[in-house]
Symmetry: C2
Subunit: 212 residues, 2 copies
Amino acid sequence: MSRSVNAREKLLDAAVRLVRAKGFAATTVEDLCGAAGVTKGAFFHHFPSKEALGVAAAGHWSAKTGALFATAPYQQVEDPLERLLAYLQFRRDILGGELCEFTCLAGTMLQEVYAEHPAIAAACHESIASHAATLEPMISAAMQARGLDPGGSSTGWTASGLALHSQVVLQGAFILAKGSGGPAIARDSIDHLVRYIRLLFAAVNASPHSSP
Amino acid sequence: MSRSVNAREKLLDAAVRLVRAKGFAATTVEDLCGAAGVTKGAFFHHFPSKEALGVAAAGHWSAKTGALFATAPYQQVEDPLERLLAYLQFRRDILGGELCEFTCLAGTMLQEVYAEHPAIAAACHESIASHAATLEPMISAAMQARGLDPGGSSTGWTASGLALHSQVVLQGAFILAKGSGGPAIARDSIDHLVRYIRLLFAAVNASPHSSP
DNA sequence: ATTGACATACCAACCGGTTGGTATCAATGA
DNA sequence: TCATTGATACCAACCGGTTGGTATGTCAAT
């Protein structure tokens, strides 16, 4: 243990940075080592393969983003629906700087390696799904507060489904942002999502019923 | 010209298939040649580089999907809003079979290569943007039919913005589908998008303006 | 005989992974 | 106290298969 938990940590940080910027396949082991300031020997000491690093990087990403969201200001908002909307506003606010600085490692890797490296894909999916799960309590509470059935039998949608839909919008927004070279489209899409959620909860407030 | 427009076309078809399944970097030139039943000589006769094939494949994809959508049944729907919703239903209906059969080549490649191969990324973006543009007339017409301002100054959103948002949802849905191993999440997200659009147009319908 | 459409054979660079070794430290025991 | 042991962390050099790309040849049609 002694001197370096460093090398492993530095490799994971480098992986998050480089893979977000260049993709998994285009990032070579030597790229990683160079960015982390270690040698290839260190790499294969800590990870049995490049694929294993990919899996670990997804976990590292989960931990980092988990900490970011756990301490984000939106968590302090009392009302569940407003907290959810504040979460989306927070997601909107952090869309800045270079593309590779605000896009999602998990979504990027998942899309690229889902067929070739199922283990990495599973780790990425877990990262996205567990983040989505943190939204469910807000949505369920908001539904209950407005007399909606969180199970979905009366609304046609569920708390977990809406939570995943939010992630769908965010992931899709990152793709279009990469295409257009900036976050403007992503902001616009988050605005649409916010508008949707407002309408969802407002609509049922106004009328006792709704179904497809 | 003579004997084979074949090789080039077969290589492009193979590229659409393989790149969707394995990603651009993971698909080797020899994979492509093998799948197309030609040799490497033919490959580099028709394309100066692998990157050039990527660009051409994006164009090929645009042409193929363009034809698919141009002849799709939803085009026959009279009412613009209903036509838009029928389009989304059509997108929902074609989510079947293997993942790589219904996901979008443009979105997959764009996400993977946007930094390393800007030319490919631009072609992919063009593919997505031009498809989104086919939705704009429906949205604008639907807005006008309901007395909305298609420019967005009164609604906070525009026809082109909503068209792009639809693509955002679809692209994001493909990512989550790859993560969960099936199209269920994607269907659910399209349902949310349909519900959003219904609410969007219904909400303004209910307010002081026009009625059918 | 020239050109376009391929095929065959080949190469140099690259890349993931291995090997064999060194530095450091903690625990052990004489 | 200090040599020994063993385990961990790391380094430098190397290896062999793969990959994008090339050089050269063939053949049919103009």
